[in-house]
Subunit: 125 residues, 2 copies
């Protein structure tokens, strides 16, 4: 019988493919920034470009299409002159904000740790 389960070493990773697939939502260097820029409300294409300085129109356009297709954001075109387009997070998209925030928190502490290390290295001789 397969009852000789080890207390650790559990060969029980819950679908790594699922994780990979979910992570692909925010894949690419810029998707998280797009979501982040939209967290406070709708933004237009050129506003997003200013929010996220070195992003090219092509990449921004590509990311926006993908995120729209996945249901993370909505695109709203106004046929004014000049034309105007607004992008806005869906409720589901908004749920990604806390997750991104969590990662930023960890990143922040990581930097503090590294500063502390440097600090100690400098004072220990």
């Amino acid at each position: 019988m397969a009852l000789k389960m080890r207390h650790n070493r559990s060969p029980n990773p819950p679908q790594p493919c699922m994780l990979t697939e979910c992570m692909s939502i925010i894949a690419g260097a810029w998707a998280p920034n797009v979501i982040w820029s939209l967290r406070a409300g709708p933004r237009r294409f050129s506003e997003l470009r200013s929010d996220i300085p070195p992003i090219s129109a092509k990449v921004l356009s590509t990311r926006l299409s993908e995120l729209e297709k996945r249901g993370i954001l909505l695109r709203h075109v106004r046929r004014t002159s000049p034309p105007s387009t607004e992008y806005e997070l869906t409720p589901l998209g908004e749920e990604l904000i806390p997750a991104l925030d969590g990662i930023v928190q960890v990143g922040h502490r990581l930097k503090q740790l590294q500063s502390a290390d440097t600090d100690l290295a400098g004072t220990s001789t």
Copy 2:
């Protein structure tokens, strides 16, 4: 004071570079899977390879080095014969788990939504 605050259109994106930098912790296709596989306790190199099926030794090795350097995990070498190495999340690394989990939750609902769409499309004629 700067009271003429616009209710939206706020030109106030909190350091997109910071977000980008933090996100780079989990950059690459496999880093999240590595962290995920370690969430239940220490794992050895070959165990991680089995956990995350199609990962090559080179990529796993690269990711592990990066994550170790950043302080997300610890490497513990046992000079036994044959040699054995264990990888383990640091406390900071463990803090990434809830964030990853949040993303997975959203991904999961996204899939449900898409199934619902398909379902409706099939029944509406």
